[in-house]
Symmetry: C2
Subunit: 157 residues, 2 copies
């Protein structure tokens, strides 16, 4: 289910972009999780830094939010991420029962919100989060383009 | 790319089943990662126990293997899991560059190796692991059926 951005979506996507900028040697992708108008968890891509293949921004933020709430059910949460989630992250968000997923740039390589795959389909055993796509798309795309332009050796292998 | 089981696949699927039986209050799903003929990481579903929505058997095993090797690239590894991986786990295995994925029971709810979704498609930016499906399918299915029969309250919500 896709929906239009609301008034605060740009604000929180900018916050996810700020988080992305902390990624250092990793591809700059950031995520924040908002509950009751406050950021309750955040994460940026740390795959290279930690050498953990699951250390994407969303996974880090989800695990932090679950720790904060003491439950794996993240109802009432909206996840803002600077890049369209890959299937690993998209499924983690769906299974964690978040209310909404809002992302910035589309990912032609692995996007799982409709670009390459679409996991957000009705009729699954899980309720499907509301989806808002392409908020501040250009800004979110640009930092990734810049990253690969400046650090060609970091290209995915 | 789907392939037939080899001589040792049943042995390692039995090992993943033994791991599944350690899941306690969680749905019994287990995984082991084999490298050079030895188990180098293992995991069982711990979502309820830890209240971490990402704590599926395969994710736990992948993170342990990466820690052991000191790299997120798990080349040369085969992952044996008692249930067809969901999209979160399947994508984690693909992005971690494992050589092979072997699973037991098919998952009609969330299987991402062809049953509900198929992430193992050629033409992506990642090399696609070899896939072997349905090894000791009946045994792997039975422990999950028994779990839900004996613990109806544990049904996914």
């Amino acid at each position: 289910m896709s929906s239009h951005p609301n008034d605060t979506d740009k604000k929180w996507i900018l916050e996810s972009l700020a988080e992305a900028k902390l990624a250092g040697i990793d591809v700059p992708i950031g995520a924040v999780i908002v509950h009751d108008g406050k950021v309750i968890a955040r994460g940026h891509n740390e795959r290279e830094t930690t050498q953990d293949p699951t250390a994407h921004a969303e996974i880090i933020a989800i695990r932090e939010a679950a720790k904060t709430f003491g439950t794996w059910r993240l109802k009432g949460c909206t996840v803002y991420t600077s890049l369209e989630p890959c299937p690993m992250c998209a499924e983690a968000l769906i299974q964690a029962r978040v209310d909404r997923v809002v992302f910035g740039a589309y990912d032609p390589a692995s996007g799982a919100c409709g670009t390459v795959f679409n996991l957000f389909v009705e009729g699954r055993i899980y309720p499907i989060p509301q989806l808002t796509c392409g908020v501040l798309e250009d800004e979110c795309k640009q930092i990734i383009v810049d990253f690969f332009r400046l650090k060609p050796k970091a290209i995915r292998q």
